[in-house]
Amino acid sequence: MRNSVAIAFILALPVAAVDAQESASWLRSRTLANALNPRISVLGHVIAQSGPTRAETDLALQEVELGLQSEIDPYGRADFFIAKPHGEGVEIEEGYFTLTSLPAGLQARGGKFLASFGKLNMLHRFERPGVNSPLVLDRFLGPEGLVGTGGELARVLAPFGIFTELSYAFLQDLGEADPEAEAATATVIDANGNTATVPIHEEQAAAPRRARDYAHVARARAYSDLTDAANIELGVSGASHQPTGALHRRLLGADVTLRWRRPEQSQYRGLIWRSEMIWSRRVLPAEFDAVSGAFVDDPARIDRRSLYSLLEFQVDRRWFVGVRADYAEQASARAGRAPTRALAPFVMFSPSEFQRLTAQYDARVRPSGSTDHLAALKWTVVLGPHGAHPF
């Protein structure tokens, strides 16, 4: 029955349709070889900046990124981003596989990836609005972001018609090694009976890893349309990590995003307001003296919080203006809270969707009360089909 209906319809197709289909087939066959290759993109950004220190006055090709993205088979896809940051070696910024055909609406990914924590952490640096990243991201999540190797499971639900996404990731590590974790020491007795002071992470490296030694990252976000033009998104994120047992690190994040963009004039006008707040708790272990068999100090608990708020307005097809406000406490234990406050207005010109020029001014009020001024220009260029950003 099914075949007979299909045959009847094929016979009913006029000659023009058959010609059209042959023509379309020819077009498809012409690009068949390319279609099976991964999508390749290259992204680069040049930053020129002038600041109060020599390190902050620079002109450099800040980063080049090669992206390779493709479906693997009907069940999954792969995304690889290889980066060469200024002054550093080539590194795999992200490289992960995503299983897209799991039952119950689940999606899993494995490899090295930016953890689903907050909003801007999931964007590569050059994709973030403005010239530089909010201070809270650099200080609490690290300059490369909260990135790790492991697996993630995510599911989308729609309670009461509200888009809700839950994700959980289990990661081997979480961003760069913490300098204070590296610095923590313990006094031990070596094989010859001599006492020695060694870094805790070395001392514990041989110990078996426990579940809590791995990093755990979870996120829940809910999205709802308010009108055809306006929508709101709320998210909470949490991360827990105890690298080599030397330092227990917990992060809690909350984010809110309000967007406005009229569908009829979506190319010309738009407004985004986004704020993220992160609370950080770090527990430095008490130093243990193997000779006396006692702890020589108490565990240090360091609580910090930081936030940014960003407003970006598209004023015309090619022009955007924005301002970001930062409040960032020092993540380092030795520095105390020592908050820095900053205000960073910026203007962006985007001649096409493949390049943009951003100028930004930063006024940073240091804990001492002095103000640093920084001016920067970023030129971002995209070659090829870079994957769409997460909404």
Binding site: A20, Q21, S101, V156, A158, F391
Partner: protein, 304 residues
């Protein structure tokens, strides 16, 4: 106990009945022209919704999570293809995690498979602007292409839902009969204006123009997706005056300042050559949309 038993029985009956109540194919189309066509073919045997709104630029739909929720329940996804939706459809389909509508899914229909694209760039580069390597994707402005797409959709829906194949076939034949009659009428209406020139904001009137024998004198965009510059606009105005161009085609999603300024300089009419039903009021379906396009063009060209 009896109450519990009856509640369980009612729940079982509801569970058994629920799939039947939702048996109609849930069709999502990327654009309102394809959703209107699917509605003509599917009739009351399907539910149809468009992802893009009628007055929204189909190149720049925001991939909102609220659209992902819709696609999670889709049985069929009809797309225009030829990279029209490439900026936004991927994240929506991927986010939906719905195997039926993934690239290899049984419910994915690429309507461009039915037509012969025009303006296929031989060696596309981004220096040409936002070109579509597979050809111009605005093929639904040609009613003959609508006929071809109609047959493709009817064929695919029949394969997906054999029980309703007869209804789909009958609806498609009825729509084709009505559209063919109108094509004859429209061709006659615009025959006296064959060879007349127009300017489009974008390259989307190309298929319509080819069908009815009109010629392009250029676009307000210097290249696809690139905003007009003062220099290009001045050159376009000079060309329009020299070639006595009377028509400027645009859409509600483009800025109106440039077309209106050009019209003021050249005396040309600014018209919306609608791509979609409801892009302008009073055009609820495909036939009424093309009908309005044809008679608005005729009226403008017939004006003294």
């Amino acid at each position: 106990m009896a109450r519990i038993r009856s509640s369980l029985l009612a729940a079982l009956l509801w569970a058994a009945a629920a799939p039947g109540a939702e048996a109609a194919l849930k069709i999502f189309a990327t654009t309102p022209d394809l959703s209107a066509l699917a509605r003509e073919i599917g009739g009351d045997k399907v539910s149809v919704e468009s992802l893009a709104m009628p007055r929204q630029n189909p190149h720049f739909v925001e991939p909102k999570p609220s659209l992902i929720i819709k696609l999670m329940k889709a049985d069929v996804l009809i797309e225009t293809g030829l990279e029209l939706e490439s900026a936004w459809l991927g994240p929506l389909v991927g986010g939906s995690r719905n195997p039926k509508i993934q690239l290899s899914g049984s419910g994915r229909i690429d309507a461009s498979e039915a037509v012969a694209p025009i303006e296929v760039p031989q060696a596309p580069t981004r220096a040409m602007g936002d070109v579509h390597p597979g050809g111009n994707p605005h093929y639904m402005t040609d009613p003959e292409n609508v006929l071809l797409v109609c047959l493709l959709i009817a064929q695919r829906l029949s394969a997906l839902d054999p029980e309703n194949a007869k209804a789909f076939e009958s609806n498609a034949e009825d729509f084709n009969r009505r559209l063919r009659a109108k094509i004859k009428e429209w061709t006659g209406a615009l025959k006296p204006y064959a060879g007349r020139k127009y300017v489009g904001y974008h390259k989307d009137p190309s298929y319509f123009a080819r069908r009815f024998g009109m010629e392009s004198a250029g676009e307000i965009e210097p290249k696809p997706g690139i905003p007009p510059s003062p220099r290009h606009t001045a050159e376009l105005i000079a060309r329009m005056k020299a070639e006595r161009v009377r028509l400027i085609f645009t859409h509600p999603w483009f800025e109106s300042r440039t077309p209106n300024a050009i019209a003021q300089e050249t005396g040309a009419f600014v018209l919306i050559l609608a791509l979609f039903p409801e892009e302008v009021p009073g055009t609820p379906d495909i036939i009424s949309t093309i009908d309005r396009n044809v008679y608005q063009v005729k009226e403008a060209l017939a004006a003294p």
